[in-house]
């Protein structure tokens, strides 16, 4: 009885964003991508910029992102999203333009593109999903894989002697004068999701100032690739990823 009194339209305090298309996402249960997509949709809806936003989707697990959020999209070749975003933004300087890229895309094959786009201070927002692995192709080592972490290509654990250290792209990016905002967040808890959403709102708003690039890394999980349950993966991430990739703002000139 009480349930029915509470369950009325006027008492609704959380519902799915209207920008999220009614389609089941292809991601594994508990994958961080879904949570980040949701925040992205909510951000664009809250800012009222659906008609003015153009996203560049990547190659990797999030390749089908354009199927899930109801805005305009372009699909980039692997690692080339910042180059495409540059073109789109220069043609349409009053649109809100963002890339969405994983660590294989942004921190490996696309390192050149991202460094130079940020160094030019392109007035775009970059969303960087760092789950320390190549999820789509079967859990191979990524540039951000932790030392000692087992992957299908580092079965005895990553060693910096053979394959280098986990690359801290966001710290590198933050050093560039073209970057106005660089932050690292996560989506494993409700408070983390709220903080990440604030960062998204700030980054998209900052495009109006035309002062430079805004860059948001999200430390994420790939529970299938890591061979854990979704909840275990969130706990493992906090224990093992956060010491190497600490969350918080790295640069804020907005």
């Amino acid at each position: 009885m009480e349930q029915n009194i509470i369950k009325q339209e006027k008492n609704k305090v959380y519902q799915k964003s209207k920008l999220l298309i009614d389609r089941v996402m292809h991601y594994c249960p508990g994958c961080s991508h879904g949570t980040v997509h949701k925040i992205l949709a909510e951000t664009i809806e809250e800012l009222g910029i659906q008609e003015k936003t153009i996203g560049i989707s990547p190659v990797g697990c999030a390749v089908l992102l354009y199927e899930y959020i109801d805005i305009d999209w372009q699909e980039a070749a692997h690692g080339r999203a910042p180059a495409l975003a540059t073109a789109v933004k220069r043609l349409y300087p009053d649109k809100y333009v963002f890339t969405y890229q994983g660590d294989g895309d942004l921190a490996s094959i696309g390192t050149g593109e991202i460094i130079h786009a940020c160094n030019r201070g392109e007035n775009i927002t970059v969303i960087f999903i760092n789950n320390a692995i190549y999820g789509m192709t079967g859990g191979q080592m990524a540039p951000t894989t932790l030392e000692g972490m087992q992957t299908s290509t580092t079965p005895r654990g990553r060693s910096h002697i053979e394959t280098g250290f986990p690359i801290k792209i966001t710290e590198m990016i933050a050093m560039l004068p073209g970057v106005v905002y660089a932050t690292r967040q996560s989506v494993d808890t409700a408070s983390a999701v709220r903080k990440t959403k604030k960062a998204f709102l700030k980054a998209f708003k900052s495009q109006e100032l035309k002062k430079g690039t805004s860059f948001i890394e999200i430390v994420s999980t790939c529970n299938s690739g890591w061979k854990m349950t979704p909840v275990e993966a969130n706990h493992w991430m906090r224990e093992n990823m956060f010491p190497v990739f600490p969350v918080g703002d790295i640069k804020d000139l907005i």
Partner: protein, 73 residues
């Protein structure tokens, strides 16, 4: 008067990941013993009376299948 919440899970779209359960401060949610049409043990409010409508579960759900209502009753 107390603040009370009600959650509504879209059972057929839930993937049973359990992230909502891990984030609920009031131990309202559990995974069902039965499965939905796609074979997942779906989330449901096992202790509905303890829900405060804080929205944590809905905010962290990667598939955004939870709607939350809150009222003073």
């Amino acid at each position: 008067m107390a603040v009370k919440g009600v959650i509504e899970v879209e059972v057929e779209l839930c993937k049973g990941c359990g992230v909502c359960i891990d984030n609920c401060p009031t131990e309202t949610i559990a995974l069902s013993k039965s499965v939905n049409g796609r074979g997942y043990n779906f989330a449901y409010p096992e202790n509905p009376e303890s829900c405060t409508g804080c929205t944590n579960c809905a905010i962290v759900c990667p598939d955004t299948v939870i709607t939350v209502y809150r009222a003073k009753v």
